[in-house]
Each structure stands twice: as C-alpha cells, then as structure tokens.
C-alpha cells in the first residue's frame, strides 16, 4: 500500500466533515473506551498484570535470538515448517511459493495486520489467486475495496446501511435491515468458502517458545476454520510475538481482550501445535510459519525497542482524541492511531510520514492505557527529532521556531522585545480583551478568539515592585 501519510492534515480535515465517521468514533469512545475502564476496574491485579507483561516482553526482547531458536526447534519438532523472511517482498514470495506448491486456487484468510503490512492480498490476487477474508470486518473491507481503519475493528468507520448495500451487491437479494441478519448472511457465504479453500492464512498473536505453539485470538472463530479446514495452513507474524511459556501467554491473553474491547477474554483462543497428527481427525496436513523481520531487528537494536512490546490491542487509538477526531484512514497507511504514528515511519520512512508523529498533543492517554506501557509520546518525540534533523517540517513552522529560539537564547533581548510587544498588544486588545484576528496566528484565530495580554509582563512588574534582584 502506497503511504498517503504526508497528506494527514488534509485527510483529517476532510474526515472531520464526515458525519458517518463522527458517529462511528463516538461509538468507539462510548463503547470500547468505557468497557476497557470497567474491565480494568473490575480486575484488582490489572496494574500488576501490566507490570508483569512489561517485564516478560523486555526479557524476551533482550534474549530474542535464544527464544526464537528454542521456538524454531519445538515448532519443527511438532511437524511445522518455519520460514524466515527479511522483508515484505521475501514474505510475499515465500507465501506465494507455498500456495503454488499446494496448487492452490482459493485462499481463506483470517485477520492479520502483518498481512496488511506486506500488502499480501493485492499481491496474491495479482498472481491469480482468489483471496477471501473471513473476519467479518475484513470481509466487509474487502468487498468495499477499502482498507482497515482500526487495528481491532477494521470496519469501524462503516454504517450498517453501507454494509447491507455491499452485501446485497455481492450476494444478491434485497439489503438486510438488522445486524443479526447481516452476520448470518456473511456466515452462510463464508462457510462455503472455507470448504473450497486450498490454503488458509492466519496471523498469530503469540508464539510460545517452550511448546512451539502458535496462539490465535478472535471473537468469531474464523481463525480456527481458516487454519483447520484447508490442507495447508500458513501463519504469518512478526518475530517479536514470542513469549517464553504457556503461563506467560496467559498474562497477555488476560490483558489483550480487556484492553481492546473490555471483554474478560476473547471468544476464541486457540493454541496450535503442529499440523494434524496420525491419530487426529482434524487439522491441516501442512503447517507453515512465516516469521517476518521487516525492520524489527533494527528496532530491537535502537531507541524504539519498547515499541516491539506492542500486542496490537488498539487501546491507544480508542483513547486518542486525535484518532477519534480524524479516524483511521487519515493516517494513510496500515497502522493507525498513536501506535501507527510510531510504527509507520519505520516501515515507509520518516520522509513519507513525518506528519504522523507530529499529530499529537502529547496528552499521554495512549501511554496511560497501553497494556504494555509503551511510552508512545516519547517515541513520537524521537521521530520528531529525526524529522527536525532532516529538515522535514513545513517552512512556516521552522521559521517560527528559529525566530523564537533566537530570542529565547538571549534573555536580555527577549525581555526587551516581549515587553514592547506585550505593551502594544495589550493596548490594542484592552477594549475587548481579545482579538478575533491576528497576523501570523490564523491557525488559532480561524476558530478561536485570541486572548489579549494584560500589558506589562510579569517579570517587568516584579522588578518594579520588588527590585531587580528578585
């Protein structure tokens, strides 16, 4: 997917006029945000779990090579085949090759952000494969030719009416009116597709080193059908998804659903260890795991390491006032919200995405709710430093900052200049106490009055009243 993040401001401005989006975002705020607060309050050890999760992740990241090797040994011993992919192109080629060898024509897919990251669907379709998304949200997005706007709910931006229209067009028949009928219709259609599929592609929420298992989490059970029914199962995920033990996986499972949607546990959680064995009735004959680096090992060795703790719960966006105003599509690439503002520059380059880490008030709510306590504002600030070094900010902002810094470094001059400026502004604004328009401040006055200064500065008053010494 070609990044459109440079146009963040314009895309966000347009989104602000979209009443459908506004309703959807309100649903998120009143729904998932409130549900997460309740879930966190209902679990006395919630904060302790968060601390434990941070410790586990940090430990794994410090020893990632060892855990990946251990995982590979167990996974292979259980009969799985592991593939290491350095970048998106390699991962796509590996997956295509497996599909070709399986003589696949139809591929079912459960939700995978890593698949979005590598642009898998478009690639496989261009190679003549039929790809069917089985997560309801992803299925809707696919029908609409759209892209996800949220990590957990890819179609949160859509109304029921729009979905009914899409379904009627794709499946025939009159548009259904209620949600239950729509879900039933999707189930009906997808059931057939599961049976037709030659290959099933899933993501993996966790990889367990001690058992070589992969863990998938869904609310629809579609990952189970995607991985269990076709002959060949391909799981695709990033190398950072390792946890050492089953017990530790549960720390994350307890946090994930609560942080994402306020559920105590996701509806379906599956631990999968190897393909179908002799004595088993169900399961794929082949099980592949594509482990993607795509810049993750670089992140591991640098100042962004903490970002690799992310478990893709979406809490940061559910609580982000900027995301809730702008919607996911404004971000212009796969990952959105605060976590997207940190990740996107890694994948597409800061020169193609610098507006994202700048589009934050640093209000800190994302960090406050992130189950693994990722310091998202700090990481966004690191990207701002990188953008500043490369001179990527818009000219007006750079000139303003340079001018301000010139005075701020010269306190005596600053005193003099501000005294004169405030005296003048104060006199001009005295009658109304505010300005409706000011040169150089149109970004403010377009929607706000600008409060007039009282006149003499505090430091000048203090000096006059209490002497120069202070």
């Amino acid at each position: 997917m070609e990044p459109l993040s440079l146009a963040f401001r314009e895309r966000a401005a347009r989104a602000l006029h979209d009443p459908v989006l506004a309703t959807a975002m309100q649903r998120l705020e009143r729904g998932w945000q409130a549900a997460r607060a309740r879930a966190a309050a209902d679990l006395p050890e919630f904060e302790a779990l968060r601390d434990a999760a941070v410790a586990i992740k940090d430990h794994v990241l410090a020893n990632l090579d060892l855990y990946l090797e251990e995982f590979e040994r167990r996974f292979t011993a259980a009969g799985g085949v592991i593939h290491w992919a350095r970048d998106a192109a390699e991962a796509r080629a590996i997956i295509l090759d497996i599909c070709r060898r399986a003589k696949a024509r139809t591929v079912t897919k459960s939700k995978s952000m890593v698949a979005e990251e590598i642009g898998l669907n478009a690639y496989l379709e261009a190679q003549g494969l039929r790809v069917i998304e089985t997560d309801l949200g992803e299925y809707i997005i696919q029908l609409a030719g759209d892209v996800p706007s949220h990590l957990v709910g890819p179609a949160v931006h859509m109304t029921r009416e729009r979905i009914a229209e899409l379904f009627a067009k794709a499946h025939g028949g009159p548009p259904k009116q209620d949600s239950a009928a729509l879900v039933a219709e999707a189930r009906q259609v997808l059931r057939q597709r599961y049976l037709e599929a030659d290959v099933g592609i899933t993501g993996a929420n966790f990889l367990i080193a001690e058992t070589g298992s992969i863990v998938t989490v869904t609310n629809e059970g579609n990952a189970e059908l995607t991985q269990g029914l076709p002959k060949v199962h391909i799981a695709l995920t990033g190398i950072e998804k390792i946890v050492p033990t089953v017990a530790e996986a549960f720390v994350f499972l307890r946090l994930l659903a609560r942080s994402a949607t306020g559920q105590e546990f996701s509806a379906y959680t599956t631990f999968l260890t190897g393909p179908k064995r002799e004595d088993e009735r169900d399961g794929p004959q082949e099980m592949h795991l594509v482990l993607l680096d795509n810049g993750r090992s670089r992140m591991l060795g640098g100042p962004f390491r903490e970002m690799l703790r992310c478990i893709r719960c979406g809490a940061c966006m559910n609580h982000c006032p900027v995301y809730l105003a702008a919607g996911g599509h404004a971000y212009g690439w796969v990952y959105v919200g605060p976590m997207g503002s940190v990740l996107t520059p890694h994948f597409v380059g800061i020169d193609k995405s610098w507006p994202l880490p700048n589009a934050s008030t640093f209000c800190g709510r994302c960090e406050e709710v992130c189950p693994v306590r990722i310091p998202l504002p700090k990481l966004m600030r690191l990207w701002r430093e990188e953008a500043h070094k490369r001179g990527l900010a818009p000219p007006a902002a750079r000139v303003g900052l340079t001018l301000w810094a010139f005075f701020a470094r010269r306190p005596a001059l600053y005193r003099l200049a501000t005294r004169l400026a405030m005296a003048a502004l104060g006199a001009l604004g005295r009658r109304r106490g505010r300005f409706s328009r000011l040169p150089f401040a149109s970004g403010w006055t377009v929607s706000r009055e600008f409060p007039a200064p009282q006149g003499p500065t505090f430091t000048a008053q203090w000096r006059a009243a209490r002497g120069a010494k202070g």
Partner: protein
C-alpha cells in the same frame, strides 16, 4: 528551611507575557504558605516548544541557561503542570549520559513542583486564602494529570472554599486540543477537540472553568468566546488566592 523555604517562582513564558495576574496569585499563595518567593533571572522558557518540535539542541541550550538560575533555591515552583513536568520529568531525560549536566538536571528536577500540588503536598495547605462563591468546573490539563499525578490536589483546595460549588464536567480528563504548537499545526483537529471541551464545559452548568495551565485556558477561553458563550475562564491560582480583579481570560473589564 522547614519553616520558610526559599522558593524560585518559575513563572512560565505564557503567564509572564499574557497573564501576569496569575504570577501574582502564585506569589500570594506561596507567601500564604510561608515561603520566601523570588523570581530568578534569567528565566525565559522551559524549552517545550523546541523539545516538542524535535529541536533537541535548542532545548538543551535553554535548559543549560535555566538550570544555574534555579540551583540556589530550596524549591522551584511553576503555575503550570506542563512546565513543571518539563522540569521534573524531561530535564533529567535530556542530559542522560552527560556527566557534567545530568546530576544538576536531576537535582533541579527533584525540587521542582507544580504550584497547587506543591501547596498541598509539600506545604500542607488545607484551606486556601481566597474567597469565592459560585459554580466552577475543573479541567485536568494533560501533563499535570499524567506526568505529575495532579488530580485531587486542586479539587481538595477548591472544595475547602465555602461558597464554591465544584461541578465535574463530562470528560474533564480529555485533552483540550492545545498541545503547544499542535493547535496551529493541526488547527482543524485542534478545533474539534476544543469545541468538544467547550461544549462539555457549558453543559456542566458551571459559570467558571478553571485549570492549572494557561495554554489550555487560553485555548478553551478562546473557543468559548468564539462560540458566544459567557462562561468565564481563569487559572485556578487566581481563585485560590482570591485575586479576581483582572477580568477573566479573553474578556474585558466592565
């Protein structure tokens, strides 16, 4: 020191330039709490505009300019959660791994406080000197709330004022959309955020909105005024000190 500490008032650039009455209110409160107040020079700005724009060099230079001025004092107090957060949290971060400056930055950070939390936690203030009657609502500014844990302290002092009724508005912890340079870099999103804030403030039924950060206050007052609201906006220190002679933010005398 215990009975009469020497306090450096870091007045913050916005208060210095736009609303000196907040500085005087802070002086009154600190003196009521038994402090000897001084305003050391040079103090210009804590450096946040540069810090948040990714200009690390200017930030460090400004910090090196400010730290020596603050070092001689028992405490440094700022009428702003955001600037106090910069001193407390980010100054040490800036000089991590710099042997000459990191200890100095940490020492200044350890004695730097936001005004209201300083009054309550360090000086044990229970009842503020000011008088006020009316219905007020309190906006939790982000840095104060999340970097410094300021939530209860201002409310405790406000509730101790007889005649003052504190009404919580919906979403008092949600950002007002100021965000320093954010409000002019992304005016559309910022407007949406401050408009939501203004609407919720009006819906609370309070006559006066208070907060501890002038940036947020100017933003909210500016939006309320543009909406044609007659809700008043002030810094919490003005009410706590009972210094209400200056007209509310973005309003004129009379």
């Amino acid at each position: 020191m215990a009975d009469s500490p020497r306090v450096a008032l870091f007045v913050t650039c916005l208060v210095d330039l736009f609303r000196p009455s907040v500085g005087w209110a802070a002086v009154a409160l600190l003196e009521a709490a038994g402090c000897r107040v001084e305003v050391p020079e040079p103090q210009v700005c804590c450096g946040q505009p540069a810090f948040n724009s990714g200009d690390r060099r200017t930030t460090e230079d400004l910090a090196r300019q400010l730290i020596p001025a603050l070092e001689p004092f028992d405490y440094v107090v700022a009428p702003s959660g955001s600037c106090a957060g910069m001193l407390r949290r980010h100054f040490p971060e800036l000089f991590e791994g710099d042997p000459a400056w990191s200890a100095r930055a940490r020492a200044v950070a350890a004695k730097s406080f936001e005004l209201v939390s300083f009054l309550v936690e360090v000086r044990g203030m229970r009842v503020p000197p000011g008088r006020f009657s009316g219905r007020v609502t309190y906006h939790d500014s982000c840095s104060g709330l999340r970097e410094l844990g300021i939530k209860d302290q201002p409310r405790r002092l406000l509730r101790a004022m007889s005649g003052l009724e504190l009404i919580e508005m919906e979403g008092c912890e949600v950002c007002c959309g100021f965000g320093g340079t954010f409000c002019v870099k992304y005016p559309e999103i910022s407007t949406k955020m401050v408009d939501d804030k203004a609407a919720r403030a009006e819906a609370s039924g309070a006559e006066l909105l208070l907060a501890g950060d002038l940036g947020c206050l100017m933003n909210i007052a500016g939006r309320l005024a543009r909406r044609g609201s007659n809700m008043q906006v002030r810094h919490v220190a003005e009410v706590l000190a009972g210094r209400l002679d200056a007209p509310p933010i973005a309003q004129s005398r009379g």
